[in-house]
Amino acid sequence: MRGRSLWSARSRSRRTSGPPLSKAWLKGEADADSLALKPLEFYAENGIDFRPGVRAVQLKRSDRVVVLSDGSTLNYDVLILATGARAFALPIPGADLAGIMALRTAADAEQLKAAIGPGKTLAVVGGGYIGLEVAASGRALGAEVVVLEREARLLARVACNALSDFFRSYHEARGVRFELGCSVVGFEGTDGRVSGVKLADGRVLPCDAAVVGVGAAPNDELAAEAGLATARGVVVDLDARTSDPNIFAIGDVAHRPMPIYDRMFRMESVPNALEQAKQAASAITGRPRPAGECPWQWSDQYDLKLQIAGYPFDADEIVLRGDPATAKFAVFHLKGNQLQAVEAINAPPEFMMGKQLILSRKAVDKARLADPSISMKEVAA
């Protein structure tokens, strides 16, 4: 039996994917067709009633009803919340000027592409992965790029010093300027368009466009207002089920258990959303729970392929494998002799074997791990 499903999306366009927005799309290497997750016919052909531009505004759990922004209502037997996360906006003067954007939608990326190019300056607020990807794409489009970061180093929340330093010099060698340890206090504008970024030390850095990439917050209001358990996201179990057995939450909005780390947290990555989609689908259709996966992510900057597996929770030692000067190396984060996370730069074997080791919790010989002359397959054997 095939049930009917209904998707509603706040944005007016087709569902698009996030990752290429800061990468290939921005550089003009992807077109709208390749960005759309599925062609429109797909939804109709598969019994999916896709309603673009319609927002779910209220959840009435006792009646199993969702109220929509066009005033209509929908009954459900099972409901999946996949409302994602939204970019944090900076609560500072001028943040609503034209030319300032958070890269969340294809429209943002279009606007940015139109605003920058040779002779233009792009300011990027936030030196995380998204900020760095945008910086690399900005350079590829010929713009001057300055990245502003509050912390004293890049990727401060997620990466170790060695990796921060590596990215900094790689970007600097390709013309990106960094302002680290600086605090952005406002934007200045002319005729309603951004013309500069104002820093706490009084300086104003001129720019023609600005991208703000300072993190995201889960869109969990619907759930919270309906009384579902939330904690920096909608709380779910290993089946992606919320505190209401008929409601599931998946992807960026979910606060989920991660048994290998013995804790719960919220992730923002495509593989995480896919894994939880499989968990929910299995639970709903009465199939066995899929095997746990190792969380992972990737990032493309210039010719660098960064692949990250796991999270460095509770790690007490870092093992470097390979030489950063060759732009081919990996940073392993260990807790005792168990692998918690690996960041691999142009190093797929380190990433792929790392993923397996993180999941298996197998003890790792650190000396062998640090020796690139021993293959990763042998290290993990």
């Binding site: 990468k23 390749s34 599925k38 062609p39 797909f42 052909e45 593989p271 392929k305 692949q307 797929p348």
Partner: protein, 106 residues
């Protein structure tokens, strides 16, 4: 445009017209053909878009890059004609291409 035949592991065939410029992976995913997961959406970062290219088309589909080679090294059941389908760009030249899917991508 190229007509591409995707053959699932169980023998089910899907014949699809794929636009030039898309990858062989995108042709499958956008047409909801099962058997290619493509978790990373074509970034050559996941190796879940593994296919076997029909021998007659091996030359036309080009050679594996170093990155693809080293990702493929970790896929299951890799053969001489294994490729990551996100790394094969569709062009008129590939009209008639046949690719087969492995039993599993994970």
């Amino acid at each position: 445009m190229a007509k591409i035949t995707y053959i699932e592991h169980d023998g089910t065939e899907h014949v699809i017209d794929v636009k030039n410029g898309l990858s062989v992976m995108e042709g499958a995913v956008k047409n909801n053909i099962p058997g290619i997961d493509a978790d990373c959406g074509g970034a050559c970062a996941c190796a879940t878009c593994h296919v076997y290219v029909d021998e007659a088309f091996l030359a036309k589909t080009g050679t594996r890059s170093a990155m693809e080679e080293s990702m493929l090294d970790f896929a299951e059941g890799v053969e001489e004609n294994s490729r990551l389908s996100c790394q094969i760009k569709v062009s008129d030249d590939l009209d008639g291409l046949i690719v087969r899917m492995p039993e599993s991508q994970h």
